[in-house]
Structure formats: C-alpha cells, structure tokens
C-alpha cells in the first residue's frame, strides 16, 4: 500500500510539528503605511509603474468597494476585519534582476530551499537564467507578499508564443491584452472581496496562450505570505485563444502567526473556441493552531469563462489550509458545447472553517458540467459545500452531474451541503447527489486487522475517499496532496 507508506513516512518525518511551512523569513521589506485610501492605491499604482487607465480602474473599484459590505451568507464566523489595519503593499527589498545565485538575497534563497522546491528549480526561482540544454517541466512564477520575485522559463515559453509573466509587468508590456480581458470575467464590483482586490491587487500571474498553441510545459505560481500585518491580494489572468491549451498549478504557504492575515485573490480564466484550461490548486495556507489562533482568511473569487464553442475549463482544488476558506471557483459556460469541471477536496481540522464549492452557469446549448466535491471534517471544524447549478433558458441539452460526499471524523465537527439548483430549460438534465457519513467501521476494521495503525488506516481510507479528485491532479501535485491530507488530519483520531 504505497499511499499509506508514503503518508506514514511523511508524518514521521514531521514529528510533532504539523505545519512545516510555518517559518518566517527575516528579510528587509519595503512596506506601505497601514491603511486603505486613495493615496495608498496611487502609491501601489506608482510602485508598479502603471499607466493611468489602470489607476483609474483601481480607484473606481475602490469607490465601489466603499459602498459594499462583507458578505454574511457563508457558514463561517470571524470577528470584523479592520481593513485599515493592514499593509496593502509589502515587497522584499532586492536588487533588480540578479544575474547569478550570489547576487540573490540569501534569505530569499533560503526560503525557497525550506519550502522544498528542488535546487535547480530554486536557482531559477531566484531569477537566474538556466544553463544551456537544461530543460525542466514546470515554469514557476514566485510571488512573495506583494510582488513577483521571479518567473522562470520565460524564454522557452516565449519561443512557443506563450506569455507568462507577473501581471504588473503585463500591465506595462501587454496593456492591450490586459485591458481587453481584465475584469471581464470577475467585474471590479462583483463582490466585496473582488472589489477590494481590484483596488489594491499587487501581483499575480498573467498567461496568454495564442491560437493553436499547446503550452509546452506546466505553468505554476507559488504564493508566499511572509510579512506581518499584511494581506495578499494577487490577481491572475489566464487567456487561452482558439485551439490552445494550458495546465496551471497554484501553491501557497504562510508563516505561523497568532494574527489572522487576509488573502483576497481574484483569478480570471478565458477560454476561446476549442481551448482548454486546467487549473489546479493545492491550498496550504497556515490554518491556525489547535485553539484556532491565527491562520489565513482565504477569501478568493475564481471564475472561468468558456467563451468559445467546445472550450473547457477544469478546476481541481485540494483545500487543506487556511483558518477560513471562502472560495467558489466557477465556470460560465457560454460557448456551445463547452465543458466545466470542478473537482474538490476540502479538509478541515481543529478550528478551521471552510465554505467552498462552485457555480456552473449554463448559458449555451449542449453545455456540460461535472462537480465532484469531497469534504472531510475533523476536530472542531466546520466544512460546507455550497454550489450553484443554473441552467438558463437557451441552454438546451445542458447536462450537469453533481456528487458531494462528506466524511465526519469525530463528533464535534460539522459537515454541511448546500446545493442550489436552478433550471429554466426543459431540455436540460440536472442530477445531484450527496451523502454524509463517518468512516466505515468495517473498512477501519479490515485495515487494522491487516496490521495498519488507526491513523494509517484513516489516511488510507481518506485517500480512497478522495481518489476521484486526486486523480485529476498533475502527478507531482497528487503526491503532495496525499501527504497534505494525512498531515491535516493528524491527531484527529485515536
């Protein structure tokens, strides 16, 4: 049973510490003063050397945000957030464009080493050009607090015609593309956190895959929150033209702190005719300690527009971190025959709260969507699946299948399922099923009888429970996700 062996080894290696990414990097930072006002937005915009239209867009979003209230409908509770007590800009003070590893701030270098990114990749992360002939499968954009510190493989990608760069750079270098697509999937005033993000977003990735190009490697962004009293507001925009395709991975970690930090991201995906986007997330923000102190508030808006016929957007997420998760990656299925997929594993332990799910909006004919959501609750945590399937009158032949399964470990946690089904077309078929149960005594007994410890047995069963989702992840991520599941549930049994 390799999965169990692997997870057991992972846990043994960790010893007592359950969150191995919880260290803090001591590095000289450039911090904007605390607070949020037009001056701060102008400051962010000028630091990013943005054109005037971008600043105006931010200010308009800020004004909209001021008239909005925090959403209250999710099944999460947290004390009111003081939005004026946050630094909206934090960047490590590094020399621009280091030519070799020696020039890169050693603290930054060490951070990547500790985060477990392989050495040669790590060299790349810090902005060093790869040696001739060396080819790696994944291009990485590393976002450290408010800025992107390095993006790898840009040359290789550029040869294929793919643009992969920090969004702040895209605003300067490719304004026509950014202007055409930014805010078209998630409008600036879409919701409270999207408006906040639109006003103050600092970095994130921009991907443009031109017509007919199959992106030669997987793209990845690694988000790291490091500074105190900051929030991270990244913005990702991925545009895939006709017949093109891309697979994109996202990872994230943060130091262990008593304070709560806000992460309010916006991700927009656009897929044209026959285009395909696969977006995978392993979300591992610091979840807070056993008593619920600290941890990241992960309030993000992710949405993809299948604009073209036969386009496809697939979201896969493994959510193990964050004190609170508020996240609904969605698909707007506009193009005829377009396909939306959502595969999710959400694990909560201790005092974590997660309210996550998806929206599938069927607008075009013969659009199809699949939702597979697995929820695991342990400790004193609460986990909610909240999803919407809407079939509009023109979406004849639309098809949806939804399956939500919840697993409860212990009698002090909660698992909830709140699907919304709105169907306005008689030629559509919508199916939804959901189950809630605990780990089967029979399965547990079977594993124990064969010599597995209770913890290993639970890990094995949980991995099996999540298999439908984990198999959708790219290989390396699937292995990491399996380990994460085990670590997240540590101490929840026995």
């Amino acid at each position: 049973m390799p999965a169990a062996t692997e997870t057991r080894e992972a846990v043994e290696k960790l010893g007592q510490s359950t969150y191995k990414w919880g260290f803090e990097t001591d590095i000289e930072m450039d911090l904007a003063p605390k607070g949020l006002n037009e001056e701060i937005i102008r400051l962010i915009s000028s630091r990013k050397e943005e054109p005037e239209w971008m600043l105006e867009w931010r200010l308009a979003a800020f004004r909209t945000w001021q008239s909005m209230e925090d959403p209250k409908w999710a099944k999460v509770s947290y004390p009111p957030i003081d939005y004026q007590d946050v630094h909206y800009y934090a960047a490590p003070r590094t020399k621009p464009g280091p030519k070799s590893l020696d020039e890169v701030d050693p603290a930054l270098l060490k951070t990547y080493e500790k985060l477990g990114i392989p050495l040669h990749e790590q060299a790349l992360l810090a902005g060093v050009e790869p040696a001739e002939g060396e080819r790696l499968p994944v291009a990485v954009d590393a976002v450290f607090d408010s800025v992107s510190v390095a993006t790898t493989f840009r040359k290789t990608l550029a040869e294929a015609g793919v643009i992969f760069c920090p969004i702040s750079e895209a605003v300067r270098e490719h304004p026509e593309l950014v202007r055409r697509y930014l805010g078209t999937v998630v409008p600036a005033g879409d919701n409270f956190f999207a408006a906040l993000n639109s006003a103050v977003f600092t970095d994130g990735s921009f991907v443009y895959v031109p017509k007919g190009v199959r992106c030669p490697m997987e793209l990845s962004t690694y988000f790291r929150i490091n500074a105190r009293n900051t929030g991270q507001f990244e913005r990702t925009l991925i545009v895939v033209e006709e017949g093109a395709s891309v697979s994109y991975l996202e990872g994230c970690t943060a130091p262990m702190r008593d304070e709560n930090q806000l992460h309010a991201a916006v991700v927009e995906l656009v897929a044209m005719d026959d285009a395909s986007i696969k977006y995978s997330t392993v979300q591992n923000w610091y979840p807070g300690d056993e008593e619920g102190r600290g941890g990241i508030y992960n309030f993000v808006t992710k949405r993809g527009a299948c604009r073209g016929a036969r386009s496809k957007i697939s979201w896969t997420q493994v959510e193990t971190g964050s004190a609170i998760t508020w996240k609904y990656p969605s698909c707007i299925l506009q193009g005829e025959g377009s396909v939306g997929e959502f595969y999710s594993v959400a694990v909560t332990n201790n005092c974590q709260q997660a309210d996550t799910g998806t929206k599938m909006i069927h607008l075009g004919r013969n659009t199809r969507s699949t939702i597979i959501a697995k929820t695991i609750s342990a400790g004193r945590s609460d986990s909610t699946y909240r999803g919407l399937v809407r079939v509009q009158p023109k979406a004849s032949g639309a098809r949806n299948f939804t399956q939500c399964d919840s697993l409860l470990i212990g009698d002090r946690c909660g698992a909830h399922t709140v699907p919304y089904i709105e169907c306005r077309n008689m030629a559509a078929r919508v199916e939804h099923e959901a189950t809630t149960s605990k780990i089967s005594e029979d399965q547990l007994f079977y594993c124990r009888q064969r010599g597995l410890s209770e913890e290993d047995a639970v890990g094995l069963i949980v991995n099996g429970f999540c298999r439908d989702v984990l198999k959708e992840l790219p290989m390396e991520f699937a292995v990491e996700a399996q380990k994460l599941l085990q670590i997240s549930l540590e101490g929840s049994v026995g």
Binding site: C423, M426, V430, E431
Partner: protein, 426 residues
C-alpha cells in the same frame, strides 16, 4: 413604536393598520418581532426563490363578517364530490378563516375547541423565528384546536378551509390551528384549502405528536386561482412517535407549504413528502426543515414537481442533525419534470450535520419527459397527449403511494386528475 415603511418592512405595510393597538402579550410580542424583521423579501435566504410581491400594493383588511353562504356551500360540495364517502366523514369547515358550524360535521373521539373561543398559540411556533408565524400570531382570529387523548384512535378528520375572494386581493385571514396527539394516540388529518378568487391565506398549524403516537397529515392546496396560499406547520415529535406529512400543491397563484419538524426524542420518525402540479404563471414552494434533536431517529422526504406553462416550482429542504442525534438516518429526494420551455425549478436540498455516526443523503434531478419512453408508448399506438399523461402520472404515482391513508390518497389523485391532462392547464 416604530412605523412600518414599505421599503423597510417589505410587504408588511399592507397590514400596518391592523397591527396597531393589539392586546395581549403574545400579539404584542409578535408585532415587535415583525417590526424588527419585516416580512421576508427575496434577500432573506429562506425566501430566496419566493417573492411576496404578489400581495400587491393595496392594504389587506380582515375578511368581511358575512360571506356568500351559497358560494361556500358550493365550494365545499366541489371538494366533497371528488370522492365517494367523503361527505360522510367528520369535518371542520372554516370560511374566510372563521369556523362555519353549519357546514361542519362534529367528530367523535376527538376533542375540538376553537381559537375564537379560547385563544391558544402553542409552543412550537415562536413568533421570533418566522415573520409569517408572527403575522399569524398578531392577526389570528380563529382556528381549530384538536386533541386526541392517550391511546385513542381519532380516525379521520377533514379540516376544510374555504376562501371566497373577488377579483382583486383585498383581504387576508390567518387561522391558527393546533393538533395534540397524546401518547399512543392516532389520527389522520386531511386539510383541504379550497376557494375562489383572490385572498391571502396564512394558516399556522402547531402540532405535537406524543410518545408512540402517529399523525398522518395530508394537505391539499386547492386555493382560488388568484389566491396566495401559504401554510406553516411546526411539528414536534416525541419518542417513537410518527409524523407523516404529505402536501399536494395544485391551485393558487402563489403556494407555499412550509414544514418544520423536530424529532425531539429517540426512535421518532418524520416523513415530509409532497407533489406539486403547476401550470400557467403559478409559483409553488415546498420548504421544510427537519431537525434531528435526538439519537436513532429517521426522516424521509420525497418531493416531485410537475411544471407546465410559465410555472415555477421551488423546493427547499433542510435536514439538520444536531450533535446529540447519533445514528440518524436521513434521506431526501427532490425531482422535477419540466413540461414547457418556460417552466422553471429552483431546488435547494440542504444538509447541516454535527453528529458523525449518521447516514444522510439527498438527491435531486431535473429533466423533461424521456423521449425513449414516449417513443415506446407512441410506437404501441398510444396518442401523444395520452402517452404524456401516462408518463406524468407514473412520475407522481410513486410519491402519491406514500400516503398511507387510502381515502386521502384517492382524494389527491382525484384532485390531480381535475387539474387536467398533460397539456397546458391554468
């Protein structure tokens, strides 16, 4: 005292005159709760899919003291004629919310008093919880208070509410019913809400099912074509008790049947089933909250919607399992059949679970009539309209079969047959 404005209190302003100067602690408390919360708009989660805007802009007064006795008699006969033997059953008849002794047939073995004589608000329905219950508490004038003593089989009792309205919506009535089954008692209560024209009917029924008692509660919503018929049931079920509820939504401009069932002691069971058959511009809403507050309880729910014309069906079903309610067995299924390109279904099956040793599941499906099944029937010479009718009947048949009481089941079938064939029906 706060004044109620249309923008703050939703449609509450329609009742503002009647809410002034009410006597009695319960009613004053209810008015305070209403002034605080207003009547629900679609921004309230529980009313996300059903708008009370249809109540219009005109103030709703209390019903007139007198009514057209012949029309009431005709409406009652229309119901009673639906099935042989129904006319001989004991029945309590209310017209425009008030008890009509001349139309009623006194039951045996069941104690009945009337709200108008001795107001009793009951325990399960607290005005703080639900604005429509608060509105009922403030404005209730009459209602039946039904009691079946320990170990007694109360047989079958018909509770007929007749609304007689005109073309425009001008009045509302808010009956307050209570049903208490003591330990080991049994009763089949068939509530028929029938009428003509426009009115707003907002009954609240407070139910207690005692230990090992069994209540079968069948509600038929056959309201007037322009009427708004809501209905809120709060049922509390004791150890080994059974509350078996079935609702049939057929006629009315806007219908909502809302059941709050609480399994308060072990080995209790509730069934909250229903069928909606809507057409024209009708909106029908079946909402339920089943709370498992004790271990080893069972809940079952099957709701089927058949929607034609521009009709919109709403299903909101929540199953809440409290931490104490280990070994809960919950199942919920909602299915909708859309017969017209303009029909719509909005479904929200919801599980909220705090106990780990449970088995809970729900399912929902939406679709049109199956082309292959239709083809099968057509290829055997069944005309199209008839083939559709057969398939529609088959779709709701299984759910109707869940009504244990044969007479009540037959009555529901008869009312569905009156609603008409597969084609458009208003």
């Amino acid at each position: 005292m706060n004044t109620i404005s249309p923008d703050r209190g939703g449609p509450l302003a329609l009742f503002s005159q009647r809410l002034e100067g009410l006597a009695g602690a319960e009613r004053q408390q209810a008015v305070a709760a209403l002034q605080h919360a207003g009547l629900p708009t679609r921004r309230v989660e529980a009313w996300k899919y059903t708008a009370l805007r249809v109540l219009g802009q005109t103030s709703l007064s209390a019903p007139a003291a007198t009514y057209d006795a012949a029309a009431a008699r005709a409406a009652l006969d229309h119901v009673l004629a639906a099935q042989d033997g129904l006319a001989d059953q004991p029945r309590l008849v209310f017209v425009n919310g008030r008890h009509a002794p001349d139309l009623s047939v006194a039951p045996k073995g069941v104690k009945v008093t009337f709200f108008a004589d001795a107001p009793r608000f009951g325990n399960a329905a607290s005005p703080d919880r639900d604005p429509l219950v608060a509105l009922n508490t403030a404005l209730a004038e009459d209602g039946a208070n039904i009691q079946v003593e320990a170990g007694v089989d109360g047989g079958t009792l018909l509770l007929v509410s007749i609304g007689l309205g005109g073309q425009a919506l001008t009045f509302s009535f808010h009956p307050r019913h209570a049903v208490v089954l003591e330990a080991g008692a049994r009763l089949t209560l068939v509530c028929v809400q029938a009428g003509q024209g426009a009115y707003f009917h907002n009954p609240v029924t407070d139910i207690h099912v005692g230990a090992a008692a069994a209540l079968e509660h069948v509600t038929l919503q056959l309201e007037g074509a322009e009427a708004v018929g809501l209905g809120t049931v709060y049922a509390d079920v004791d150890r080994e008790g059974v509350y078996d509820s079935f609702a049939l939504g057929v006629d009315g401009l806007l219908l909502r049947h809302e059941v709050h069932a609480r399994l308060g002691a072990s080995r209790a069971a509730v069934h909250v089933n229903g069928v909606q058959r809507l057409g024209g511009a009708q909106v029908g809403d079946m909402t339920s909250v089943i709370t498992h507050a004790a271990p080893d309880c069972i809940s079952r729910q099957t709701v089927r919607n058949v929607l034609d014309g521009h009709a919109r069906g709403v299903f909101q079903g929540k199953v809440l399992v409290e931490q104490i309610a280990q070994k809960t067995d919950g199942y919920q299924m909602n299915q909708a059949l859309l017969l017209s390109p303009d029909a719509e279904i909005d479904a929200k099956p919801e599980l909220e679970i705090y106990a780990d040793d449970v088995r809970c599941s729900h399912g929902a499906t939406v679709g049109a009539l199956d082309d292959e099944q239709l083809f099968y029937l057509r290829s055997r010479g069944v005309p199209d309209a008839q083939a559709r009718q057969i398939l529609i009947e088959a779709f709701v048949d299984e759910t109707l079969g869940l009504i244990a009481h044969e007479g009540a089941q037959a009555l529901c079938r008869a009312m569905l047959a009156r609603k008409g064939g597969a084609g458009e029906s208003a």
